[in-house]
Subunit: 418 residues, 2 copies
């Protein structure tokens, strides 16, 4: 895309009321717009990143048998009353609104209840199981405070997968598959090296659940990590006698664990039969008996993941996108006003398009310093400069966003390096 | 996809409270689930259709220079108060909800106000214009009655494009481009032959706006059509002296117009400077003066379009999807329990996958009658049967959903026909 066509402009300052680093940088670089506290519009650059993250997650969910669907925002209170979760005392993040036709509805903060009800129409026999269904859907949470940018919003995108198995063994096996898929996702998104699968409180139905926590000073959570084994423990269970035993069983010592701040980037949870029993999701097993379906739920917030990447991988000049999620692969920048440079820039841009290399082409009439500052702020992984100097040398000036120095390459060499 | 893996089941009856033909068929065939009146979940088959429609619209919007972004559901009342549209007396379809942190917010029924405010950060000079931005975003409308299935919901998907031009001439030219793009979209989606560009009331800022209306007995609107010229007039302006003059100017007679029921599938609207003036979206023109940006807005509801297709193109057996929006291109059905048939079915399914032909493979253990009934209900354009009979003949039995008779083809011939 030509940058003269991109409608967003970079800016020197973020809004004064924006305290999070991720939103400050994303607003300054033109990826997002703050509508109000905890509510952000995704501008064209931001939507490109979000869709790249979505696509990574979608591929991994499809690979383990997930079927994509999309549930609704407006929620029928009847289904939530069956699990006693419509009450604000039980679930304190509800937004609720009145129907003109009479009655109150909620805005979905999560979707266990409605998907369980949907499945009562489609699951009746052991032959119908297992079922794995997921969606990318906006969640609404009426948070009192919002100071983490797109990492914790009142309105945010979530991938939530729900599993429906015949028995605990089926759930346990699928749970491990999701865990592996999550590790792939965080690796592909460029934060795998900082992300730990942690033991977390399991609630009523299992001893432990697991979270995926990414080590970051801007995190709201505390975890205790073992770097060698790439394992960690959430603070809420740290210090409990059972956790001490678990640590010993895993041939670790509490002394060897390091306390770190972290961001929860994913969670996986064995729900058991809590929802299926409350909502009547049963099936007839091979012996002819009616038994409840065994469920699990698995979440990743693509917008939180995007915010986490910005928190972790930016530097003093701006954002540093990993290849797989970057809004474009190449930032092509022409310098100066000479017609030769413009022609060479246009030709190379067309060539990159033909080769399928997603390119942002800075064809704007601005000083080099401004163009470089914008390029660093926006954070596309590879910057290619064409100027009178590079034309004379018959080369391209190529600089990786993570590198400190540029290097001169001929075109063939550059294209091979992509 | 193997049908044994697809979690949705067809059903004989739609819910008793569902009166619309589109929702009845879509529920029975397993495309959607009714959460409550006017609120529908899109199941895997339904989401596939919706994404196909989205992709057609996206391609046409990108082709005319649209930049995709995504605005928010939660709406800051401050920005809507500037145009006097936050009041329920002015806009009677608001859902509103309270923030725990204090204050009330709305759920977006449309997005003119927030996008105009976003643009105040990015448009300041004539050099920044024009800008064309669009989104696919859920809209919320607190309708008192809902009896049209997914054609008019309380929560529904909308593509809304907004144009920002320097002057009226720019708006007028882009308005025609959108009009042409809309005609392409309805043609590609399979309802072009029944869709008319109509003259509609223009509101305060222009004499006429235009709508795209599809002739259907289930429509809520009335239009007067001239079939030859493929033009029509909305009832709200029909009978006005100015409309009479327009009809005469276009070399038509009122006598020659036919009254039809119709469904509004799109609208295009010249907003002029109403929103830019209220919200301070101005730019500095070439003479150095500050003037308001000239705006337009352009909507198509992908879910309404999907419902319209079902209303128009179904028959007594079920849905008849046009190729371009169908959830799969081919429905491969095996009959009987012989291992030879299963092997031949599996092999042909794998071949179609390799060739990139999206295929639903009915590998279920059911009687032929049940399989054919499901296939007709689901409405995939081409059905291919493999049975002992077809294997003996060395052929495939191919039946188009719109055809009454099947024909025998050899594999080569069938693959060429795709």
């Amino acid at each position: 895309m030509r940058q003269t066509q991109l409608f967003t402009k970079t800016r020197k300052e973020a809004p004064a009321d924006e305290v999070s680093k991720n939103a400050q940088l994303l607003i300054r670089a033109g990826f997002i717009h703050k509508e109000m506290a905890g509510v952000y519009t995704f501008l064209p650059l931001g939507l490109r990143v979000l869709k790249n993250i979505e696509e990574i997650i979608r591929e991994e969910m499809n690979a383990i048998g997930g079927q994509e669907m999309i549930l609704t925002t407006l929620q029928d209170k009847e289904v939530w009353e069956k699990t006693n979760r419509f009450s604000d005392d039980v679930m304190d993040v509800w937004f609720k609104t009145d129907l003109k036709a009479g009655g109150v509805v909620g805005l979905a903060p999560t979707h266990e209840e409605p998907i369980t009800r949907v499945m009562t129409n489609h699951i009746s026999s052991y032959k119908d199981l297992p079922v794995y269904a997921y969606q990318f859907q906006t969640k609404f949470r009426n948070e009192v405070r919002t100071k983490s940018g797109i990492m914790r919003g009142r309105e945010f995108l979530m991938k939530d997968l729900y599993s429906f198995d015949a028995d605990q063994a089926g759930l346990d096996a699928f749970y491990e598959k999701v865990s592996d898929a999550y590790i792939h996702i965080f690796d592909r998104a460029g934060i795998g090296h900082l992300t730990y699968k942690t033991f977390a409180s399991g609630g009523v139905f299992s001893k432990y659940s697991h979270e995926f926590q990414t080590v970051s000073d801007s995190g709201e959570d505390i975890i205790y990590i073992n770097e060698e084994q790439k394992k960690a423990f959430n603070k809420e269970i740290y210090g409990e006698a059972e956790t001490d035993k678990l640590i010993a069983d895993m041939a670790m010592t509490k002394m060897g664990l390091i306390e770190k701040k972290s961001i929860e980037v994913g969670n996986i949870f064995k729900l058991g039969t809590k929802f299926s029993e409350s909502l009547g999701l049963t099936y007839t097993n091979e012996s002819g008996n009616s038994v409840p379906v065994v469920m699990g739920s698995y979440g990743i917030g693509p917008s939180r993941l995007m915010g986490t990447i910005v928190e972790l991988l930016s530097d003093e000049k701006g954002i540093v996108w990993p290849e797989a999620v970057a809004p474009f692969r190449v930032h092509l920048v022409i310098l100066g006003n000479s017609p030769e440079v413009a022609v060479a820039g246009d030709m190379f841009y067309e060539k990159l398009k033909t080769l399928g290399v997603e390119t942002l082409y800075d064809d704007r009439d601005l000083r080099p310093g401004e163009k470089f500052a914008d390029s660093d702020l926006i954070g596309i992984p590879t910057r290619v400069v064409i100027s009178e100097k590079t034309l004379q040398a018959g080369k391209l000036e190529v600089k990786k966003r993570i590198a400190s120095e540029a290097e001169m390459m001929d075109e063939e060499e550059f294209l091979r390096s992509l």
